[in-house]
Amino acid sequence: MDKNKIIALLRKDMMGEQQAIVQYLNHAYNMPEGTVPAEIEAIAREEMYHLDWLADMIVELGGDPTMERDPVDFGAAPAEQQLLKDVDLEQVAIDQYRAHIAMIDDETVRRLLARILQDEFVHQEQFRDLAAEAAAEAAAEAAAEAAAGGASGAEAEDGDEPAGKPPERLQALLNKGVRHEYSVVLQYLYHSFVAEDCEASEELQNAAINEMQHLGWLAEHLAEEGGEPDFTHEELVLTRDAITNLEADVAIENQVTQMYTVQIPEVDEEGLKKLLTRIRDHEIYHEAVFSDLLAEARATTASQKDETDEPSAPTRPSIPSVGSLKD
Protein backbone atom coordinates (compact mmCIF):
# COMPACT_ATOMS: atom_id res chain seq x y z
CA MET A 1 0.00 0.00 0.00
CA ASP A 2 1.21 3.50 -0.80
CA LYS A 3 2.89 5.12 2.22
CA ASN A 4 0.71 8.24 1.98
CA LYS A 5 -2.42 6.11 2.19
CA ILE A 6 -1.09 4.44 5.32
CA ILE A 7 -0.36 7.84 6.81
CA ALA A 8 -3.91 8.98 5.98
CA LEU A 9 -5.37 5.96 7.78
CA LEU A 10 -3.17 6.49 10.81
CA ARG A 11 -4.21 10.15 10.94
CA LYS A 12 -7.81 8.97 11.01
CA ASP A 13 -6.91 6.72 13.93
CA MET A 14 -5.32 9.69 15.73
CA MET A 15 -8.54 11.68 15.31
CA GLY A 16 -10.45 8.79 16.85
CA GLU A 17 -8.07 8.51 19.77
CA GLN A 18 -8.33 12.22 20.53
CA GLN A 19 -12.10 11.99 20.32
CA ALA A 20 -12.03 9.18 22.85
CA ILE A 21 -9.68 11.03 25.19
CA VAL A 22 -11.82 14.15 25.26
CA GLN A 23 -15.11 12.24 25.58
CA TYR A 24 -13.86 10.06 28.43
CA LEU A 25 -12.27 12.95 30.31
CA ASN A 26 -15.43 15.01 29.94
CA HIS A 27 -17.44 12.15 31.41
CA ALA A 28 -14.99 11.69 34.25
CA TYR A 29 -14.94 15.39 35.14
CA ASN A 30 -18.72 15.49 35.29
CA MET A 31 -18.92 12.66 37.81
CA PRO A 32 -18.41 13.01 41.55
CA GLU A 33 -15.01 11.89 42.79
CA GLY A 34 -14.68 8.19 43.17
CA THR A 35 -13.39 4.98 41.64
CA VAL A 36 -15.52 5.27 38.48
CA PRO A 37 -14.06 8.56 37.20
CA ALA A 38 -10.59 7.39 38.26
CA GLU A 39 -10.97 4.28 36.10
CA ILE A 40 -12.26 6.33 33.19
CA GLU A 41 -9.24 8.62 33.49
CA ALA A 42 -6.94 5.58 33.50
CA ILE A 43 -8.55 4.44 30.24
CA ALA A 44 -8.11 7.95 28.81
CA ARG A 45 -4.43 7.79 29.72
CA GLU A 46 -4.05 4.58 27.75
CA GLU A 47 -5.70 6.29 24.76
CA MET A 48 -3.07 9.01 25.14
CA TYR A 49 -0.37 6.37 24.74
CA HIS A 50 -2.15 5.25 21.54
CA LEU A 51 -2.13 8.83 20.29
CA ASP A 52 1.60 9.08 20.99
CA TRP A 53 2.41 5.76 19.27
CA LEU A 54 0.36 6.66 16.20
CA ALA A 55 2.03 10.08 15.94
CA ASP A 56 5.50 8.52 16.22
CA MET A 57 4.63 6.02 13.49
CA ILE A 58 3.34 8.78 11.19
CA VAL A 59 6.51 10.82 11.69
CA GLU A 60 8.63 7.73 11.05
CA LEU A 61 6.78 7.23 7.75
CA GLY A 62 7.53 10.83 6.84
CA GLY A 63 4.06 12.20 7.48
CA ASP A 64 2.50 14.90 9.61
CA PRO A 65 0.57 13.95 12.76
CA THR A 66 -2.84 15.54 13.07
CA MET A 67 -4.19 17.36 16.12
CA GLU A 68 -7.76 17.34 14.80
CA ARG A 69 -10.34 15.11 16.44
CA ASP A 70 -13.57 13.40 15.45
CA PRO A 71 -16.72 15.02 16.91
CA VAL A 72 -17.31 14.47 20.60
CA ASP A 73 -20.73 13.97 22.16
CA PHE A 74 -20.85 16.51 24.98
CA GLY A 75 -24.51 15.88 25.79
CA ALA A 76 -25.33 15.55 29.49
CA ALA A 77 -26.79 12.26 30.67
CA PRO A 78 -26.82 10.00 33.75
CA ALA A 79 -23.59 8.10 34.36
CA GLU A 80 -24.87 4.76 33.03
CA GLN A 81 -25.83 6.32 29.70
CA GLN A 82 -22.50 8.16 29.41
CA LEU A 83 -20.65 4.93 29.99
CA LEU A 84 -22.76 3.09 27.40
CA LYS A 85 -21.80 5.84 24.92
CA ASP A 86 -18.20 5.04 25.75
CA VAL A 87 -18.85 1.34 25.08
CA ASP A 88 -20.21 2.34 21.67
CA LEU A 89 -17.21 4.56 20.97
CA GLU A 90 -14.87 1.69 21.73
CA GLN A 91 -16.82 -0.41 19.24
CA VAL A 92 -16.28 2.28 16.59
CA ALA A 93 -12.56 2.16 17.36
CA ILE A 94 -12.47 -1.63 17.24
CA ASP A 95 -14.22 -1.70 13.86
CA GLN A 96 -11.90 0.96 12.48
CA TYR A 97 -8.72 -0.71 13.66
CA ARG A 98 -9.87 -4.07 12.30
CA ALA A 99 -10.54 -2.46 8.93
CA HIS A 100 -7.19 -0.67 8.85
CA ILE A 101 -5.27 -3.80 9.82
CA ALA A 102 -6.94 -5.59 6.93
CA MET A 103 -6.03 -2.83 4.49
CA ILE A 104 -2.42 -2.10 5.52
CA ASP A 105 0.34 -4.45 4.37
CA ASP A 106 3.20 -2.90 6.33
CA GLU A 107 4.03 -5.41 9.07
CA THR A 108 5.33 -2.84 11.59
CA VAL A 109 2.22 -0.73 11.28
CA ARG A 110 -0.09 -3.75 11.49
CA ARG A 111 1.67 -4.88 14.63
CA LEU A 112 1.15 -1.47 16.23
CA LEU A 113 -2.52 -1.35 15.31
CA ALA A 114 -3.02 -4.86 16.63
CA ARG A 115 -1.44 -3.81 19.91
CA ILE A 116 -3.81 -0.85 20.15
CA LEU A 117 -6.78 -3.03 19.22
CA GLN A 118 -6.02 -5.35 22.14
CA ASP A 119 -6.41 -2.37 24.49
CA GLU A 120 -9.69 -1.26 22.89
CA PHE A 121 -11.26 -4.66 23.55
CA VAL A 122 -10.25 -4.38 27.20
CA HIS A 123 -11.54 -0.78 27.42
CA GLN A 124 -14.89 -1.79 26.00
CA GLU A 125 -15.21 -4.51 28.61
CA GLN A 126 -14.25 -2.10 31.36
CA PHE A 127 -16.85 0.43 30.23
CA ARG A 128 -19.52 -2.30 30.15
CA ASP A 129 -18.67 -3.23 33.72
CA LEU A 130 -18.66 0.40 34.82
CA ALA A 131 -22.03 1.00 33.14
CA ALA A 132 -23.48 -2.01 34.93
CA GLU A 133 -22.05 -0.74 38.20
CA ALA A 134 -23.54 2.70 37.59
CA ALA A 135 -26.91 1.19 36.75
CA ALA A 136 -26.82 -0.87 39.96
CA GLU A 137 -25.89 2.19 42.02
CA ALA A 138 -28.67 4.26 40.50
CA ALA A 139 -31.17 1.49 41.17
CA ALA A 140 -29.99 1.15 44.78
CA GLU A 141 -30.30 4.91 45.34
CA ALA A 142 -33.78 4.99 43.81
CA ALA A 143 -34.81 2.12 46.06
CA ALA A 144 -33.36 3.83 49.12
CA GLU A 145 -35.18 7.05 48.31
CA ALA A 146 -38.43 5.23 47.74
CA ALA A 147 -38.01 3.44 51.09
CA ALA A 148 -37.36 6.74 52.85
CA GLY A 149 -40.46 8.13 51.16
CA GLY A 150 -38.48 11.13 50.08
CA ALA A 151 -38.64 10.83 46.32
CA SER A 152 -38.19 14.35 45.11
CA GLY A 153 -39.88 13.80 41.83
CA ALA A 154 -36.81 14.98 40.09
CA GLU A 155 -34.35 12.37 38.97
CA ALA A 156 -31.08 12.49 40.83
CA GLU A 157 -28.04 12.17 38.59
CA ASP A 158 -25.37 9.92 39.95
CA GLY A 159 -26.75 10.36 43.41
CA ASP A 160 -25.74 14.03 43.30
CA GLU A 161 -27.85 16.93 44.23
CA PRO A 162 -28.36 18.85 41.04
CA ALA A 163 -25.74 21.57 40.94
CA GLY A 164 -26.70 25.11 40.10
CA LYS A 165 -24.88 26.91 37.33
CA PRO A 166 -21.75 28.75 38.38
CA PRO A 167 -21.72 32.54 37.97
CA GLU A 168 -21.19 33.42 34.32
CA ARG A 169 -17.99 35.30 35.12
CA LEU A 170 -16.50 32.29 36.91
CA GLN A 171 -17.54 29.96 34.10
CA ALA A 172 -15.93 32.30 31.54
CA LEU A 173 -12.76 32.61 33.61
CA LEU A 174 -12.33 28.88 34.09
CA ASN A 175 -13.21 28.03 30.52
CA LYS A 176 -10.63 30.50 29.30
CA GLY A 177 -8.12 28.38 31.17
CA VAL A 178 -9.63 25.11 29.91
CA ARG A 179 -9.45 26.24 26.31
CA HIS A 180 -5.90 27.46 26.74
CA GLU A 181 -4.73 24.29 28.46
CA TYR A 182 -6.39 22.10 25.84
CA SER A 183 -4.75 24.17 23.09
CA VAL A 184 -1.26 23.91 24.54
CA VAL A 185 -1.65 20.18 25.17
CA LEU A 186 -2.24 19.73 21.45
CA GLN A 187 0.44 22.22 20.43
CA TYR A 188 3.14 20.82 22.71
CA LEU A 189 2.30 17.24 21.81
CA TYR A 190 2.62 18.06 18.11
CA HIS A 191 5.88 19.91 18.71
CA SER A 192 7.20 16.93 20.66
CA PHE A 193 6.15 14.55 17.89
CA VAL A 194 8.02 16.50 15.19
CA ALA A 195 11.03 17.66 17.21
CA GLU A 196 14.26 16.25 15.89
CA ASP A 197 16.11 16.95 19.10
CA CYS A 198 15.40 14.24 21.68
CA GLU A 199 15.80 16.53 24.68
CA ALA A 200 13.38 19.04 23.21
CA SER A 201 10.90 16.29 22.37
CA GLU A 202 10.98 14.96 25.92
CA GLU A 203 10.65 18.39 27.53
CA LEU A 204 7.72 19.25 25.30
CA GLN A 205 6.00 16.02 26.14
CA ASN A 206 6.58 16.62 29.86
CA ALA A 207 5.08 20.08 29.47
CA ALA A 208 2.09 18.63 27.60
CA ILE A 209 1.49 16.15 30.42
CA ASN A 210 1.65 18.97 32.97
CA GLU A 211 -0.81 20.99 30.89
CA MET A 212 -3.13 17.98 30.86
CA GLN A 213 -3.04 18.05 34.63
CA HIS A 214 -3.98 21.73 34.53
CA LEU A 215 -6.80 20.93 32.14
CA GLY A 216 -8.08 18.27 34.49
CA TRP A 217 -7.92 20.49 37.57
CA LEU A 218 -9.74 23.37 35.90
CA ALA A 219 -12.34 21.16 34.21
CA GLU A 220 -13.06 19.29 37.44
CA HIS A 221 -13.40 22.52 39.37
CA LEU A 222 -15.78 23.87 36.77
CA ALA A 223 -17.82 20.67 36.70
CA GLU A 224 -18.05 20.70 40.51
CA GLU A 225 -19.55 24.19 40.25
CA GLY A 226 -22.10 22.88 37.78
CA GLY A 227 -20.43 24.31 34.71
CA GLU A 228 -19.53 22.77 31.36
CA PRO A 229 -15.85 22.57 30.37
CA ASP A 230 -15.33 23.92 26.88
CA PHE A 231 -13.05 21.56 24.95
CA THR A 232 -12.42 23.78 21.98
CA HIS A 233 -8.91 24.78 21.12
CA GLU A 234 -7.56 28.14 20.06
CA GLU A 235 -5.38 28.66 17.01
CA LEU A 236 -2.40 26.33 17.12
CA VAL A 237 1.10 26.89 15.77
CA LEU A 238 1.98 23.61 14.11
CA THR A 239 5.08 23.80 11.97
CA ARG A 240 8.06 21.59 11.35
CA ASP A 241 10.51 24.34 12.25
CA ALA A 242 11.85 23.95 15.79
CA ILE A 243 12.61 27.63 16.27
CA THR A 244 9.18 28.80 15.07
CA ASN A 245 7.52 26.25 17.32
CA LEU A 246 9.55 27.14 20.39
CA GLU A 247 9.07 30.87 19.82
CA ALA A 248 5.33 30.26 19.76
CA ASP A 249 5.56 28.13 22.91
CA VAL A 250 7.54 30.79 24.80
CA ALA A 251 5.09 33.47 23.68
CA ILE A 252 2.03 31.54 24.73
CA GLU A 253 3.49 30.72 28.14
CA ASN A 254 4.25 34.39 28.62
CA GLN A 255 0.70 35.34 27.66
CA VAL A 256 -0.92 32.76 29.87
CA THR A 257 1.26 33.71 32.85
CA GLN A 258 -0.11 37.21 32.56
CA MET A 259 -3.64 35.88 32.09
CA TYR A 260 -3.52 33.85 35.30
CA THR A 261 -1.81 36.69 37.16
CA VAL A 262 -4.68 38.97 36.24
CA GLN A 263 -7.28 36.28 37.12
CA ILE A 264 -5.94 35.43 40.58
CA PRO A 265 -7.00 38.65 42.30
CA GLU A 266 -10.41 38.48 40.53
CA VAL A 267 -11.28 35.20 42.23
CA ASP A 268 -12.84 35.13 45.72
CA GLU A 269 -12.54 31.47 46.59
CA GLU A 270 -9.27 30.70 48.35
CA GLY A 271 -8.97 27.18 46.94
CA LEU A 272 -9.35 28.39 43.37
CA LYS A 273 -6.85 31.20 44.02
CA LYS A 274 -4.31 28.64 45.15
CA LEU A 275 -5.03 26.43 42.15
CA LEU A 276 -4.58 29.26 39.66
CA THR A 277 -1.40 30.37 41.43
CA ARG A 278 -0.04 26.84 41.24
CA ILE A 279 -0.87 26.59 37.54
CA ARG A 280 0.63 30.05 36.92
CA ASP A 281 3.87 29.08 38.59
CA HIS A 282 4.08 25.93 36.43
CA GLU A 283 3.65 28.11 33.32
CA ILE A 284 6.56 30.29 34.42
CA TYR A 285 8.68 27.17 34.69
CA HIS A 286 7.59 26.03 31.21
CA GLU A 287 8.54 29.39 29.76
CA ALA A 288 12.01 29.12 31.27
CA VAL A 289 12.50 25.61 29.89
CA PHE A 290 11.23 26.57 26.43
CA SER A 291 13.44 29.68 26.43
CA ASP A 292 16.48 27.52 27.10
CA LEU A 293 15.49 25.10 24.34
CA LEU A 294 14.96 28.03 21.98
CA ALA A 295 18.40 29.46 22.77
CA GLU A 296 19.94 26.05 22.09
CA ALA A 297 18.02 25.66 18.84
CA ARG A 298 19.09 29.09 17.69
CA ALA A 299 22.71 28.39 18.59
CA THR A 300 22.61 25.14 16.69
CA THR A 301 21.10 26.82 13.64
CA ALA A 302 23.59 29.67 13.78
CA SER A 303 26.55 27.32 13.93
CA GLN A 304 25.20 25.43 10.93
CA LYS A 305 24.86 28.47 8.78
CA ASP A 306 27.73 30.37 7.18
CA GLU A 307 27.95 33.58 9.11
CA THR A 308 28.22 36.68 7.03
CA ASP A 309 29.76 39.65 8.63
CA GLU A 310 27.64 42.69 8.78
CA PRO A 311 29.29 45.62 7.15
CA SER A 312 31.25 47.36 9.89
CA ALA A 313 30.47 50.83 10.91
CA PRO A 314 32.58 53.44 9.26
CA THR A 315 36.02 53.30 10.83
CA ARG A 316 36.57 55.84 13.51
CA PRO A 317 39.66 57.82 13.81
CA SER A 318 42.16 56.40 16.21
CA ILE A 319 40.19 57.55 19.30
CA PRO A 320 38.12 54.58 20.54
CA SER A 321 34.44 55.22 21.31
CA VAL A 322 31.97 53.67 23.74
CA GLY A 323 29.11 53.21 21.26
CA SER A 324 26.01 51.17 21.95
CA LEU A 325 25.96 48.77 24.91
CA LYS A 326 22.65 47.18 23.97
CA ASP A 327 22.72 43.42 23.33
Partner: protein, 258 residues
Protein backbone atom coordinates in the same frame (compact mmCIF):
# COMPACT_ATOMS: atom_id res chain seq x y z
CA UNK B 1 41.63 64.93 10.43
CA UNK B 2 42.09 68.18 12.28
CA UNK B 3 42.81 67.90 15.95
CA UNK B 4 39.76 69.73 17.27
CA UNK B 5 40.24 68.11 20.66
CA UNK B 6 43.79 69.52 20.93
CA UNK B 7 45.16 66.13 21.84
CA UNK B 8 48.37 66.68 19.99
CA UNK B 9 49.11 69.62 22.26
CA UNK B 10 49.29 67.33 25.30
CA UNK B 11 52.84 66.76 26.61
CA UNK B 12 52.83 63.07 25.90
CA UNK B 13 52.50 60.69 23.01
CA UNK B 14 50.10 58.07 21.69
CA UNK B 15 51.03 55.53 24.34
CA UNK B 16 49.66 57.61 27.21
CA UNK B 17 46.63 58.63 25.18
CA UNK B 18 45.92 54.97 24.54
CA UNK B 19 45.93 54.30 28.30
CA UNK B 20 43.63 57.22 29.00
CA UNK B 21 41.26 56.27 26.19
CA UNK B 22 41.16 52.65 27.31
CA UNK B 23 40.32 53.69 30.87
CA UNK B 24 37.61 56.06 29.61
CA UNK B 25 35.92 53.40 27.49
CA UNK B 26 36.27 50.72 30.15
CA UNK B 27 34.78 52.80 32.99
CA UNK B 28 32.06 54.17 30.74
CA UNK B 29 31.00 50.70 29.67
CA UNK B 30 30.89 49.52 33.28
CA UNK B 31 28.85 52.48 34.50
CA UNK B 32 26.48 53.45 31.72
CA UNK B 33 23.00 51.97 32.02
CA UNK B 34 20.91 53.93 29.55
CA UNK B 35 22.91 52.71 26.58
CA UNK B 36 22.14 49.11 27.56
CA UNK B 37 18.45 49.84 27.28
CA UNK B 38 18.06 52.28 24.40
CA UNK B 39 19.09 51.95 20.81
CA UNK B 40 21.80 54.37 19.84
CA UNK B 41 21.77 56.52 16.73
CA UNK B 42 25.25 57.70 15.87
CA UNK B 43 27.82 58.81 16.74
CA UNK B 44 27.02 61.48 14.21
CA UNK B 45 29.85 63.87 14.99
CA UNK B 46 30.46 66.86 17.22
CA UNK B 47 29.09 69.14 14.54
CA UNK B 48 25.57 67.72 14.77
CA UNK B 49 23.64 69.97 17.11
CA UNK B 50 20.06 68.88 16.59
CA UNK B 51 18.15 65.67 16.00
CA UNK B 52 14.76 65.49 14.31
CA UNK B 53 11.85 63.75 15.94
CA UNK B 54 8.92 62.91 13.70
CA UNK B 55 5.47 62.41 15.07
CA UNK B 56 2.79 60.34 13.40
CA UNK B 57 -0.93 60.16 13.34
CA UNK B 58 -3.16 57.17 12.89
CA UNK B 59 -5.61 57.96 10.15
CA UNK B 60 -8.24 55.26 10.19
CA UNK B 61 -5.90 52.33 10.17
CA UNK B 62 -2.94 53.76 8.21
CA UNK B 63 -0.10 55.16 10.28
CA UNK B 64 1.19 58.25 8.59
CA UNK B 65 4.51 59.96 9.20
CA UNK B 66 3.80 63.65 9.36
CA UNK B 67 5.92 66.10 7.45
CA UNK B 68 6.59 68.27 10.47
CA UNK B 69 9.57 67.29 12.59
CA UNK B 70 10.37 68.60 16.00
CA UNK B 71 14.05 69.33 16.46
CA UNK B 72 15.72 68.43 19.71
CA UNK B 73 18.94 70.07 20.73
CA UNK B 74 21.77 67.77 21.72
CA UNK B 75 23.10 68.49 25.18
CA UNK B 76 26.74 68.39 26.10
CA UNK B 77 27.72 66.61 29.27
CA UNK B 78 31.24 66.36 30.57
CA UNK B 79 33.65 66.25 33.45
CA UNK B 80 37.21 67.46 33.87
CA UNK B 81 40.26 65.88 35.39
CA UNK B 82 43.85 66.83 35.94
CA UNK B 83 47.01 64.84 35.40
CA UNK B 84 50.02 66.50 36.96
CA UNK B 85 53.41 66.71 35.41
CA UNK B 86 54.78 64.68 38.32
CA UNK B 87 52.38 61.84 37.53
CA UNK B 88 53.56 61.84 33.96
CA UNK B 89 57.19 61.75 35.08
CA UNK B 90 56.53 58.90 37.52
CA UNK B 91 54.91 56.93 34.71
CA UNK B 92 58.05 57.41 32.60
CA UNK B 93 60.64 56.81 35.28
CA UNK B 94 59.12 54.20 37.60
CA UNK B 95 57.44 50.83 37.14
CA UNK B 96 54.22 52.10 38.75
CA UNK B 97 52.71 53.36 35.54
CA UNK B 98 50.31 56.25 35.11
CA UNK B 99 47.73 56.60 37.85
CA UNK B 100 44.38 56.95 36.09
CA UNK B 101 42.18 57.31 39.16
CA UNK B 102 41.20 60.86 38.25
CA UNK B 103 40.24 59.70 34.75
CA UNK B 104 38.05 56.94 36.13
CA UNK B 105 36.35 59.27 38.61
CA UNK B 106 35.64 61.85 35.93
CA UNK B 107 34.18 59.24 33.58
CA UNK B 108 32.01 57.83 36.38
CA UNK B 109 30.68 61.32 36.95
CA UNK B 110 30.02 61.71 33.24
CA UNK B 111 28.23 58.36 33.10
CA UNK B 112 26.01 59.40 36.02
CA UNK B 113 25.20 62.61 34.22
CA UNK B 114 24.34 60.79 31.00
CA UNK B 115 22.10 58.33 32.81
CA UNK B 116 20.54 61.14 34.81
CA UNK B 117 19.63 62.85 31.58
CA UNK B 118 18.19 59.70 30.05
CA UNK B 119 16.35 58.38 33.09
CA UNK B 120 15.16 61.83 34.08
CA UNK B 121 13.93 62.39 30.55
CA UNK B 122 12.07 59.08 30.50
CA UNK B 123 10.46 59.72 33.88
CA UNK B 124 9.43 63.15 32.75
CA UNK B 125 8.00 62.08 29.42
CA UNK B 126 6.36 58.82 30.51
CA UNK B 127 2.64 59.05 29.87
CA UNK B 128 1.59 55.70 31.23
CA UNK B 129 1.14 55.40 34.99
CA UNK B 130 0.62 52.33 37.13
CA UNK B 131 0.57 51.39 40.77
CA UNK B 132 3.80 50.25 42.37
CA UNK B 133 2.07 47.84 44.71
CA UNK B 134 3.79 46.25 47.66
CA UNK B 135 7.47 45.58 47.01
CA UNK B 136 8.02 44.08 50.42
CA UNK B 137 5.63 41.19 49.88
CA UNK B 138 6.35 38.11 47.82
CA UNK B 139 4.33 38.33 44.65
CA UNK B 140 3.85 42.07 44.95
CA UNK B 141 6.48 43.22 42.41
CA UNK B 142 5.53 40.48 39.96
CA UNK B 143 1.86 41.46 40.06
CA UNK B 144 2.64 45.14 39.74
CA UNK B 145 4.91 44.65 36.73
CA UNK B 146 2.60 42.11 35.07
CA UNK B 147 -0.36 44.44 35.52
CA UNK B 148 1.60 47.39 34.10
CA UNK B 149 2.64 45.30 31.12
CA UNK B 150 -0.95 44.24 30.54
CA UNK B 151 -1.95 47.91 30.70
CA UNK B 152 0.65 48.88 28.13
CA UNK B 153 -0.27 46.04 25.80
CA UNK B 154 -3.89 47.06 26.10
CA UNK B 155 -2.84 50.55 24.99
CA UNK B 156 -1.13 49.10 21.92
CA UNK B 157 2.43 49.08 23.21
CA UNK B 158 4.13 45.73 22.70
CA UNK B 159 7.23 44.23 24.24
CA UNK B 160 9.83 43.18 24.86
CA UNK B 161 9.83 45.30 27.98
CA UNK B 162 12.64 46.57 30.19
CA UNK B 163 12.49 47.52 33.85
CA UNK B 164 14.64 50.23 35.43
CA UNK B 165 14.88 50.63 39.17
CA UNK B 166 17.12 52.21 41.78
CA UNK B 167 19.68 50.09 43.64
CA UNK B 168 17.52 50.33 46.77
CA UNK B 169 14.45 49.05 44.93
CA UNK B 170 16.55 46.32 43.39
CA UNK B 171 17.71 45.30 46.85
CA UNK B 172 14.09 45.10 48.02
CA UNK B 173 13.22 42.93 45.06
CA UNK B 174 16.27 40.71 45.44
CA UNK B 175 15.53 40.08 49.11
CA UNK B 176 12.13 38.52 48.41
CA UNK B 177 12.48 34.79 48.42
CA UNK B 178 10.51 31.83 49.67
CA UNK B 179 11.18 28.12 49.32
CA UNK B 180 13.91 28.78 46.81
CA UNK B 181 11.63 30.87 44.63
CA UNK B 182 13.17 34.28 44.00
CA UNK B 183 10.87 37.16 43.17
CA UNK B 184 13.72 38.65 41.12
CA UNK B 185 13.74 35.63 38.81
CA UNK B 186 9.98 35.82 38.40
CA UNK B 187 10.02 39.52 37.54
CA UNK B 188 12.98 39.04 35.19
CA UNK B 189 10.89 36.59 33.16
CA UNK B 190 8.37 39.36 32.45
CA UNK B 191 10.94 41.83 31.18
CA UNK B 192 12.68 40.18 28.25
CA UNK B 193 14.57 43.36 27.35
CA UNK B 194 16.25 43.29 30.75
CA UNK B 195 16.12 44.53 34.31
CA UNK B 196 18.47 47.43 35.06
CA UNK B 197 19.66 49.29 38.13
CA UNK B 198 20.28 52.99 37.83
CA UNK B 199 21.34 55.42 40.52
CA UNK B 200 19.34 58.04 38.66
CA UNK B 201 16.07 56.33 39.55
CA UNK B 202 14.23 57.55 42.65
CA UNK B 203 13.70 54.97 45.40
CA UNK B 204 9.93 55.11 45.28
CA UNK B 205 9.39 54.56 41.58
CA UNK B 206 10.08 51.98 38.92
CA UNK B 207 10.23 52.59 35.18
CA UNK B 208 8.81 50.11 32.71
CA UNK B 209 9.78 50.67 29.09
CA UNK B 210 9.18 49.27 25.66
CA UNK B 211 12.59 50.42 24.44
CA UNK B 212 12.21 49.55 20.79
CA UNK B 213 13.82 52.14 18.47
CA UNK B 214 10.43 53.19 17.08
CA UNK B 215 9.38 54.10 20.63
CA UNK B 216 12.49 55.77 21.96
CA UNK B 217 16.21 56.07 21.30
CA UNK B 218 19.38 57.94 22.10
CA UNK B 219 21.06 60.17 19.55
CA UNK B 220 24.77 60.71 20.09
CA UNK B 221 26.57 63.50 18.30
CA UNK B 222 30.06 63.27 19.75
CA UNK B 223 30.62 60.01 21.58
CA UNK B 224 32.64 60.13 24.81
CA UNK B 225 36.03 61.57 24.02
CA UNK B 226 38.85 63.14 26.01
CA UNK B 227 40.13 66.51 24.93
CA UNK B 228 43.12 68.44 26.18
CA UNK B 229 42.32 71.84 27.66
CA UNK B 230 45.88 72.92 28.28
CA UNK B 231 48.15 73.31 31.25
CA UNK B 232 47.78 75.42 34.35
CA UNK B 233 51.32 75.62 35.56
CA UNK B 234 52.46 72.02 35.87
CA UNK B 235 48.91 70.64 35.93
CA UNK B 236 47.42 69.37 32.72
CA UNK B 237 43.69 69.71 32.44
CA UNK B 238 41.48 67.45 30.35
CA UNK B 239 37.79 67.34 29.61
CA UNK B 240 35.95 64.12 28.87
CA UNK B 241 32.64 64.92 27.23
CA UNK B 242 29.94 63.90 24.81
CA UNK B 243 26.83 65.31 23.14
CA UNK B 244 23.53 63.48 23.14
CA UNK B 245 19.76 63.74 23.30
CA UNK B 246 16.98 61.38 24.31
CA UNK B 247 14.12 60.95 21.83
CA UNK B 248 10.87 59.66 23.29
CA UNK B 249 8.78 59.13 20.18
CA UNK B 250 5.88 57.35 21.91
CA UNK B 251 5.50 58.61 25.47
CA UNK B 252 2.98 55.84 26.19
CA UNK B 253 5.82 53.35 25.76
CA UNK B 254 7.23 54.53 29.08
CA UNK B 255 5.35 53.68 32.28
CA UNK B 256 6.08 54.97 35.75
CA UNK B 257 5.07 52.66 38.56
CA UNK B 258 4.57 54.75 41.64
Amino acid sequence: MSDYFMREAAPFGDGVWAQIDEMVVSVAKKNLVGRRILSLVGPLGWGVEQAPMFGFTDEGGADVVTGEAKYLRLAEVGAEFIITAKQLLMAEQTPFGLDLGAVATAVSRLAREEDGLLVGGLLDKAETKAALGDWDALGGPFEAVATAIAQMRQAGVDGPFALVLSPAMFARLASLMSHGRRELDMVSKLVEAGLFQSRSMPDDQVLLLSPQPWNMDLVVGQDIVTSYLGNEGLDHRFRVFETLVLRVKRPEAACVLK
